[in-house]
Structure formats: structure tokens, C-alpha cells
Symmetry: C2
């Protein structure tokens, strides 16, 4: 059992699930909460999962990062739309030689974390998980759950497998979470975008689930065409190669997934801000600036921006 | 006053409005109706219009084309999704030397009418009108109303201004309708598609009106980008040139229009079939076969096909 302590910033579908698994495995956890603070302080965390349901009646819950002890590892699992809060939160919750594990989708966040905490290690983690928060402090894990982690370096130069990565992987594995170690964070981020751009985006625009999209031949083709544009963007903006095999595997994985309302759709349905800039805007701007022509991703971005404005003004 | 008789096939927002105007001007009209037959037979037609409201308490209403007298002109104003009915209807309602005026959007219908009636003249008319049917036999004309007509010839060879066009124009003008005579039907059809493809399509996908779309900078740009693709399609598939000036004029016209729910949106909201194939599918297939790359129009088509399937299975 490791003696590393963990701060969880953003105790929702992702942070709540992984944090609860770590505490259930015996690690020391500290959870930062916002609207769910009172509930979790009183009732703890509830996890439903096909791997087994469990409840943590008592957790270290905080509503103010300044009250939290500096931890060995901070898991950042806020929505990317909340990242403007990090400059205030992070310095308080991570030890000087600590690690930040950023469990977020999209492009562009590690640079900002590294600016806030220049002496700490920053690891990016891409979660392949279907998980929703169904009530305050109540997480419903539906399917999958593996994480691919890679360490961030300036300009995303691949840096191999580091000691920080091994420590974090060891803790997560002790909690029953499958971890893959990646040597190239930027490639992993682009690979994740291959799924997130089409399926998050189209699920909102078409008001639908992954299952309905994959069952419709028009939308299945459109999703694949968008995936091809993401691969082009990865090549143009990041000089990273996404193979045709990878794209086909993602399509097959999606077809076999349980029916799933994507995280962007859940945010939209709840009239919360969507991660449009992290997932579509930043990759689109980076690749367009590098010369790529991405009409479908741009159109999806335009449609989502319109729907967000309309949704939040209703 | 002309003595030409008119059959109106499809007495809805378009056929009902123009037919009522012609009868109000003193011409002989015969209206084919389906679900509204009983209402119109009993109560006639009601037209609300900024040009003046009027009621026609008595009209010649039919629910069976076989009961109608052969007329000098048949105005076809069915939804394009109903064109499979024309082989049964048209031979009964047009005189041997008569004229068919096809008031429909999209590509591909004139060829089929000419096959059904090889000895009659076929004129295509593109209506620039905001008009809705708000109740059985009750038409609300909101804005505009001009029609551009051109005669159909095999392969859409431009054929100049014909005598049939002059006759139809004269009758419609006597009813206060502004008519433009075009020498090139195919160009006029593609020009109309420049508006119909983006605004009909996006109004359904984004659940919105023309006003909201034009007020949003992302969607205004997207609409213009789709217009550029329509211009490319017109060039590639039809060797027709749509100028940048035309595109800018259409955008300005749309920005100045009264807030308008497009006809495709009205069909969608009523769970009726949308004119996806006439407006998007046929132009897309023609231009793609000719070598054009139209990612945005294809994406809009794919989205609409999905939404139609979902809408009609609800």
C-alpha cells in the first residue's frame, strides 16, 4: 500500500469514481467539492459499478481548496470549462515535489497547469470510461474505466515512462483500475479526440446516443469522416500519426458499447457549459493554423457554439 | 382577363396562396385537396397577407383528380416528397396542349413531369415567399411572394422566353404577383438551392429560425460556407455560374427577412416527410458524380436523414 495522498479536484463522474476507488483501496483521499459539498460531507460517496457497488460513508470533503492539505498527487477532474479556477486551487493542494494527474479531454490544459506549477510533474490521463454522476455524491459507472497516462513535457516532446507515471499507475492499479503507460501524451490526446470530436459533438447536435448514431448508416459514415479529419489534424498540427486501424477499432468499440449519453450531451441537457473549446475549438484552431482544411469539424464546432448560446439563453 | 383555367395540385402554403390570388383576380380555379377537402368544400379558402386579407367562401374543391376538368394550366405545388402521385394525377387535369407550372424547390422533378406529359409544356417556378398553412384552407402569407419562371427543355438547355411563360406570367401578374422571366431554368434552380440548402437544412438541425441563424456569427459563416459549396456544385454538375454578388445578396435578404420558420422545419415539426432528397440529396449526388467535393452539404444531408428517421419513428 502506497502512502501517497491524493487530492481530487472536481468530484464528479470521473474524479468521484476514481477517487472513491482509490480510497476504497486504502489510500488517503481529499475531495474538493462545490455544489455537492453538503451532501458528501453528510453521506459520503456512493459508487454503482458493474465491478461491484460500494459506499464510502466518510470522506474528507472540502469546499475550499485553502483548507486542504498539500497532497502527493492532485487529480484534476474538473470540466475543462472550469480550468480558469486552477490558478487559485492547485498551489494549495499539491506538494512542492508533487504530481498533477489531469483527467480531462481535449487539448491545451497541460501547458496551463505547468505554468501554474512549474516545479511539479504534470501527467495527462485519458479515461476510457462510461460514467455519470446521477445525484450529489452518487456515481454510476456503466462501462470500461481504463486510463492511459503519459507525462507532459514542454512542446509535448515524448519523454518515455517516468517514475511519476509508475507511482500513479501503481496506486491506480492497486484500486483495480487498468492503466496503460504511454510515451507520447500528444499522440494519446489526439487519439482520444478521434472519438470525442465526432461522438460528443454529434450526440448534442442530433440529440441522440452512441447506440442510435452507430445504428444509422448516414451518421456512422459521418462519424468516420470526422475521425479522418481528426487524423489529418493530428498529422498537420502535431505531426502525430493516427492509423486507419485505430479509427476502425474505435468504430467497433463504439458499436459494442452500451447505449451511452456522452458527457457533452449530459452537460447540454443540464444547461451546463460544454467543453467545446477544449474538445473542438483548440484542436481546430491548432490544425487550421498549421494549414489543415477541416470542414466537418469546423461545421460541428459552429453548430455546437450556436446550440450552446441558444441553450444557455433559454 | 384571361380565360385560361387552372388546376391547383396541392392546396397548401404555396398552391393555396397563389391559387386563391388567381381566383380572387377572376380566373377559373380547381383545387385538388387531400386532408383539407371537407373543410375547404364547406368554408372555402382564407388568405391572410400583408397585401390584404381575403376569403373565398366558394371554391371548386376536389379530392379525386379524376373528377377535375382538364385545365389549361396545372400548378403543381405538392411537397416534392409526394411527387410519386403525379403519374396518376397529371394526365387527368391538364389539357393536351396545356401547361404544367411546377412550384417546387429542389432538383429533378421537371424531367419526371415531362415523361408523364410529353406533349405539354413544363415550366419551373421558384417562389421567393414566406407563407405557411396555419389551418385547413387557411393560408398565412408573411412576406415576399415573387416567382421566377423558366421553361423546361430536355437537359435544361436554355430556351429563352416562350409563349407559355408569357401566358402564365400574364395571369399571375393580373393577380398581383410579381413574376420574373428566366431563360435558364437550371440556373434558377441552383440559385434557389443557394438559399434552400443551408437555411432549410440548418433550421431543422439547429431547431431554429432564419433570424436566430443570421444573428449568430458562427452559423452565419457556416451558411455562407454552405452557399459556396452550392455554387461549386452548380458549376461542377450544371456548368452554371453563381456569382459572389448573388451569395452576398441572399445573405442580406435573409438578414432582413421577418423571422421565419422554414418549410423544412415546419414539415419536421409536424412529423411530415422533409424534402431532403429534392433539396439536398439530388443536388449532392449530381455534383458528387461530376467530381465536386461537398463535405458540408453531405454532412447536412447525413444529419437530416438521421433526424428524419428518428423523428418519424418517435
Amino acid at each position: 500500500m502506497s502512502h501517497r495522498s491524493y487530492a481530487v479536484i472536481g468530484t464528479g463522474a470521473i474524479g468521484g469514481y476514481y477517487g472513491a476507488c482509490l480510497q476504497q483501496a486504502g489510500l488517503e483521499l481529499h475531495f474538493l467539492l462545490h455544489s455537492d459539498y453538503q451532501d458528501v460531507q453528510e453521506h459520503g460517496l456512493i459508487v454503482e459499478s458493474p465491478k461491484g457497488n460500494f459506499t464510502l460513508p466518510q470522506v474528507n470533503a472540502y469546499q475550499d481548496a485553502a483548507q486542504m492539505p498539500p497532497c502527493d498527487v492532485a487529480i484534476v477532474a474538473l470540466k475543462a470549462t472550469q480550468n480558469h479556477l486552477l490558478p487559485k486551487i492547485l498551489p494549495a493542494v499539491v506538494k512542492d515535489n508533487g504530481i498533477v494527474l489531469l483527467l480531462q479531454n481535449g487539448l491545451g490544459a497541460e501547458e496551463k497547469v505547468a505554468e501554474i506549477l512549474p516545479s511539479q510533474q504534470v501527467i495527462g490521463g485519458l479515461c476510457f470510461i462510461c460514467s455519470n454522476k446521477v445525484a450529489p455524491g452518487h456515481i454510476r459507472h456503466l462501462d470500461y474505466g481504463n486510463i492511459k497516462i503519459s507525462e507532459y513535457t514542454p512542446n509535448y516532446q515524448p519523454c518515455g515512462i517516468t517514475e511519476s507515471m509508475r507511482q500513479v499507475a501503481s496506486d491506480l492499479e492497486s484500486a483495480g483500475i487498468e492503466i496503460a503507460l504511454g510515451e507520447d501524451l500528444l499522440l494519446t490526446r489526439w487519439e482520444k479526440l478521434v472519438w470525442n470530436i465526432p461522438f460528443n459533438g454529434l450526440s448534442v447536435v442530433l440529440d441522440t446516443t452512441t447506440e442510435q448514431m452507430m445504428a444509422d448508416q448516414e451518421v456512422r459514415l459521418l462519424a468516420e469522416q470526422i475521425m479522418q479529419e481528426v487524423a489529418l489534424a493530428a498529422k498537420t498540427a502535431g505531426d502525430r500519426l493516427i492509423s486507419q486501424t485505430y479509427i476502425q477499432n474505435r468504430l467497433e468499440y463504439t458499436a459494442k458499447m452500451k447505449p451511452y449519453r456522452t458527457s457533452m450531451k449530459i452537460d447540454y441537457d443540464s444547461q451546463r457549459p460544454m467543453e467545446i473549446e477544449a474538445i473542438l475549438g483548440n484542436p481546430l484552431r491548432a490544425a487550421t493554423a498549421a494549414g489543415a482544411h477541416l470542414p466537418r469539424i469546423q461545421m460541428l464546432y459552429q453548430q455546437l457554439k450556436f446550440l450552446e448560446t441558444k441553450n444557455r439563453s433559454d
